[in-house]
Symmetry: C2
């Protein structure tokens, strides 16, 4: 049995706590002989800055490059609010995405039946919701140059960010979306602001052209990003796969995640290109942040982190059936009324991070 190299980057805030529950599941996977794993750990975010003066050390980037799979907790917190821009905790995450060329960010928004009532939306609008946002992750305004603040002669300042997209960047993310749609409901909605942005215009043209290159079995629609934000709230079940750029994807996936009842529930995968052996670099992380307000209290919801491991089993570790088992263990835990504080409601049992992790482990 080949050994898979896993790198765990717990990060800041609740990151280390929820990562502990992933380790619990990984131990079971090893004990059962499902996979042979070589597990290493590293630092990213504020904790890396405290240790090394940078948001991720070169050594840890190298470890990530060498790993088959990176699992990341969360980065950031008020402790590092006054750190210089290039060393802020997020810079570590952004460097990882960029250096590993993790251009395809998959953000599923599914509504667990047991939680449908805790959505802000009416039950009938979200019950059974299952959509996938495919966000471009290594281009756009996140990385374009110039990106700077300059002093003007009049004593004022001028800030510039640059959104850049080249044909190949749009083409490869469109392909990911079309291929995902094929194993789902076969529909892709592409979002842009082509009525205002030149990059939106190119986005629209390239997605349309890529669709004609052998993906015509997939149904493609285009929607303006603002209209899509609205439609996500009005009738989210109309969507299957949504493909959009880095910045729109950031906002729209957060809106989508909230539809499902709790952000604490949702995983994400960030994938690179396939190499000649059909393998791709990959990083998995919960959509939620580091939640500094509840960090260290043992109350954080570890389900998004565990669901991120399920995505890793599916997309990187060649064990989709084990991923399904793990996803079912999460659903069953919820169906059994076990809840952390963020999703607790009357008539359910409130537990902390560790007991939630144990509950999933027992059902796995």
């Amino acid at each position: 049995m080949a050994t898979h190299r896993l790198l765990l980057l717990p990060g800041d805030g609740i990151g280390p706590e929820v990562m502990e529950e992933v380790k619990r599941i990984l131990a079971i996977i090893e004990a059962r002989g499902i996979l042979s794993l070589s597990i290493d750990e590293g630092l990213v975010g504020g904790c890396a800055y405290d240790a090394h003066g940078v948001a991720i050390s070169d050594a840890d980037v190298e470890k990530a490059q060498a790993a088959d799979t990176v699992l990341l907790g969360a980065v950031g917190g008020p402790k590092w609010d006054s750190v210089a821009y290039e060393h802020r905790p997020e810079a570590g995450l952004l460097r990882l995405r960029k250096d590993l060329e993790l251009f395809a960010n998959l953000r599923p928004a599914i509504c667990y039946p047991a939680l449908a009532d805790s959505s802000a939306l009416k039950r009938e609008l979200v019950d059974g919701l299952d959509l996938m946002i495919v966000r471009e992750l290594t281009g756009g305004v996140y990385f374009g140059e110039p990106k700077e603040i300059t002093d003007l002669p009049n004593g004022q300042k001028r800030a510039v960010d640059t959104q850049v997209y080249e044909t190949y960047e749009i083409e490869r993310i469109a392909k990911v979306a079309f291929e995902l749609a094929r194993v789902r409901s076969g529909r892709v909605t592409s979002a842009d602001k082509r009525n205002v942005m030149k990059s939106g215009l190119l986005w629209n043209q390239v997605v349309t052209a890529t669709h004609k290159q052998g993906y015509e079995d997939v149904k493609l629609d285009h929607m303006l990003a603002d209209a899509l934000g609205m439609q996500l709230v009005r009738a989210p079940k109309q969507f299957d796969v949504i493909v959009t750029d880095n910045l729109f994807g950031d906002i729209l996936s957060d809106v989508a995640s909230m539809l499902t009842g709790s952000l604490g529930m949702l995983p994400s995968a960030s994938l690179g290109a396939e190499d000649e052996n059909g393998r791709r670099k990959a990083l998995y992380e919960p959509v939620h942040g580091s939640a500094p307000d509840i960090a260290g209290k043992g109350v954080a919801n570890p389900l998004a982190m565990i669901a991120s491991l399920a995505m890793a089993l599916k997309y990187s570790l060649g064990k989709p059936e084990v991923a399904d088992l793990l996803d079912r263990a999460i659903s069953q835990t919820l169906a059994d009324g076990i809840r952390t504080g963020d999703i607790h409601s009357e008539g359910t049992t409130k537990v902390g991070t560790t007991d939630m992790g144990k509950a999933v482990a027992e059902r796995f």
Copy 2:
């Protein structure tokens, strides 16, 4: 009595239909001697392109410059999908915003009690909702240069958009937000992506500094734009005034508008700076688009257009009490169960554009 100069730009799609209902109200206002009006009309959007080959003629921009108040319907439609980028219908609207320096876009999201049940959100989350998004409208990625698509040597293309903000642009919009908050609940939430964008960093710093220049009676919070998108869906009533940049404002105000039950209901005001006489250029338009699918059928909802006139009465025409009367006439019409198709539900009376306009007029 001084005569106010009004310019009506009905635009495309349902624009002309909903503008007819504004004319009905204006006729009443004149007949009652409330205001003396000199009303002119012009073309903007696709209709201007058809007539003049540009999305707005210089002559109509001059008329807008000279007017006290511009009322705009909506622009755009599939008919002009293949028009060159610089002549697309939206270019007319963007030119008006830029040439008149309408930097402050006010987008209220209020939930009419009679419509609370038609929101996608649970009633208790939106009942009584009353928030105001203050969107910067003449800067950011909408207007920054370079904005272009270039050919690369490898046959691919490269698209660039540039987000630019200078200190004064952020300062003046922050002031608008603080001043509005003072006559509301006294709270401002500023949204940016300072963890990723230099313009977000400057935004954050300038809003914070402006707050200290005599606005400390207002409570100021900062939120990342993605988190704010989430919170809008989770618990919109936590917000009073939200201030954000042009692009985030575009998306977040559409999300917010959908919370209220129908986009067809919401007006907006775009204001310029005050001159030495305390007067400012202003354009009022519904948040909804040109809805080409229902254009010409007499079924469009004119309430957002009529509510835009109410905003004009309040912010430009010096008649806040008449604005209140008009807003109350809209609420009463809804309370009486009169509905256009977009907001129709069982047990209410479905009417077309004209009858809806007449119903409001009768109650005004």
